[in-house]
Symmetry: C2
DNA sequence: CTGTTAGCGCCTTCAA
DNA sequence: TTGAAGGCGCTAACAG
């Protein structure tokens, strides 16, 4: 009794319902409902009268009840691996704005690079969204397919056949990066890898290996595991040990960490070591400014939402695949290798 | 008829409902419901059996139906002015994780520095959330109070009496910055202001003016309006014209823009001009690395959610006010003014 | 054009 | 400890 009262007190001032409006207007609930969802079915004056009454009453249709009855929520979920990684904010922002343009609300989920967490988030969102977007999902293909069976699903930077996806194709940019390093005279480089379950990471590694082979460049791979400033800094010791003359990092954060680590050891970039990042999220903030493979993650976000919305309105086939190009932005962290080093490398 | 079929086809494979689980377990719906919400009311084995069956069936309680029936959605909304501003991602991330720990889903809204958009977002969220968090709201006090009357509301970096809020207090850090500049010998500085409707901006400006007066430092104010790299760069011409020897920028993005603008004009920082940022979101990425007022925006996000959740569970009085300190991080963009400039300034 | 009647899936009294 | 029944607010047939 006591507890119940507390709970009721906790409840907000009760909103008016359709029944209130109907009573005040002397019509039935259905008519009120129609006045909001299919006004063209009603007499003009009826609609206006109901609208006026609703307004004075401060009536607002209940989103939840409507959703339960129609199965349409007007929500969608965006799940990313790490909100704070600068790759994501522009993507999130663009997705957000795009959804907003179609009156959709967006749930944001942060999986923290953890597949289990990602699963949990999907489960939690799935019953209240129209569809979901997974960015750089760390989930296995079968899990993804499972989820896709429950709700329309779009992937960003993850490739699973049969599921609509938008892919930022690093291949073009990475090829340019290798060509650039080759032209400068590098013969032995390192790829500093990111998370092994990341599609982007695999794609970059493979593209790099292929291009390097074509240019006769030797490639070592070191792993930074987590894409962060710290792990970039931590990998520097190994990097030096490798005796390579240049490195391509999985992303700009790692690259920035490497720059710091190199600076701490008094190794000047680009004079003694060349470095290329990926993503171009730091702008020209680092010094020297970072040569990097640029991508427009905001476009990926926008495209993801568009794809999902199209799919929802039935305007789209199942296996769409949107590919966004990348390109190398040459700034100041790449140069010809020091001659002494070049000998070592060969 | 045709249309209906299309719609049904569009509907996903129907999720299992409580009734399915009940049937499979040979119990009633109520029992299944209780197994999920008040297991202690049931026999241990009953609960386990139901849980097992639910699991094999892949049953997930329907969030929407539950919300309709209880009035509790398990959602909350976080509205920020610009997702892509590096100040926000850590805050968002922390808020996100904190909410997650209490099984809440979070809606993210991007107001784009626009009060109308902010209002719109609130309206759209309000009927499906337990409460909202507004970060750096650009809304008038009366609008905020209006919204707070509909749902529990927490403010971050916005002060409205009577509404729970967490404030990142730049005063302490700004004071340190002024003391630092004064000690270096600066006598005439500029505050490069951010959005005029921003609480943080007003607070920083006022704190700066006060501290400057105490140190006998002259202060001009220039406005960058939008907190971005570009607007920082755009303000540089005026900045030079002012003949001040140092500037404190509303945030690090503006400061970074100023650095670029100065570099373009061949004015070396800190030799010819000293610069202090706010927020400390760039790390040591700029060159020279930026002296700035540090704040931990992630703590603000976490605190905001905690405050809201506490309020929801009735554990909290109305007018809570959490204040987070800041402090100056001296790096490389501040130095004594050139002697010629100092004369001009006095 | 408008009213009537069933649900949507779940929670929550009230009985047993 | 469990079941039956009603309702949360709205939409969507089906009549009229």
């Amino acid at each position: 009794m006591e507890a119940r009262r507390v709970q009721q007190a906790g409840r907000r001032k009760k909103q008016h319902t359709m029944a209130d409006v109907a009573r005040a207007a002397g019509v039935s609930k259905s008519t009120v409902s129609r006045a909001f969802t299919q006004p063209e079915m009603l007499g003009t004056e009826t609609v206006e009268r109901i609208a006026a009454i609703a307004k004075t009453l401060g009536y607002v249709p209940n989103h939840t009840a409507r959703a339960l009855s129609t199965g349409r929520h007007g929500n969608l979920a965006l799940i990313v691996t790490d909100v704070a990684n600068p790759f994501f904010p522009p993507l999130i922002r663009a997705a957000q704005m795009e959804a907003d343009g179609s009156d959709f609300c967006v749930f944001l989920g942060n999986s923290d690079e953890n597949p289990r967490q990602e699963d949990k988030l999907v489960d939690r969102f799935v019953s209240q969204v129209e569809g979901l977007i997974l960015v750089g999902s760390r989930l296995g293909a079968e899990r993804i397919q499972h989820h896709a069976g429950r709700r329309p699903l779009v992937l960003i930077n993850r490739e699973v056949t049969g599921i609509p996806r938008v892919l930022i194709d690093s291949t073009t940019g990475v090829r340019q990066a290798i060509a650039h390093l080759a032209a400068l005279g590098h013969r032995h480089i390192v790829y500093v890898s990111g998370p092994s379950s990341s599609w982007a990471n695999r794609q970059r590694r493979n593209a790099l290996r292929l291009a390097a082979r074509q240019h006769g460049i030797e490639v070592d791979v070191l792993s930074a595991r987590v894409p962060s400033y710290e792990s970039g800094r931590a990998v520097v010791a190994e990097l030096i040990e490798s005796r390579a003359t240049a490195a391509v990092a999985f992303d700009d954060l790692i690259a920035q960490g490497i720059m710091t680590g190199m600076a701490e050891r008094g190794i000047p970039i680009p004079e003694a070591f060349s470095l290329v990042g990926c993503d171009d999220v730091l702008g020209a903030a680092t010094y020297p400014s970072l040569t990097t493979v640029s991508n427009r993650s905001d476009e990926a976000g926008r495209a993801g939402v568009t794809l999902l919305l199209d799919r929802l309105s039935g305007r789209m086939a199942g296996d769409t695949r949107v590919v966004l190009d990348t390109h190398l932005v040459v700034r100041q962290t790449t140069a010809a290798p020091a001659s002494g080093q070049r000998r070592q490398g060969g």
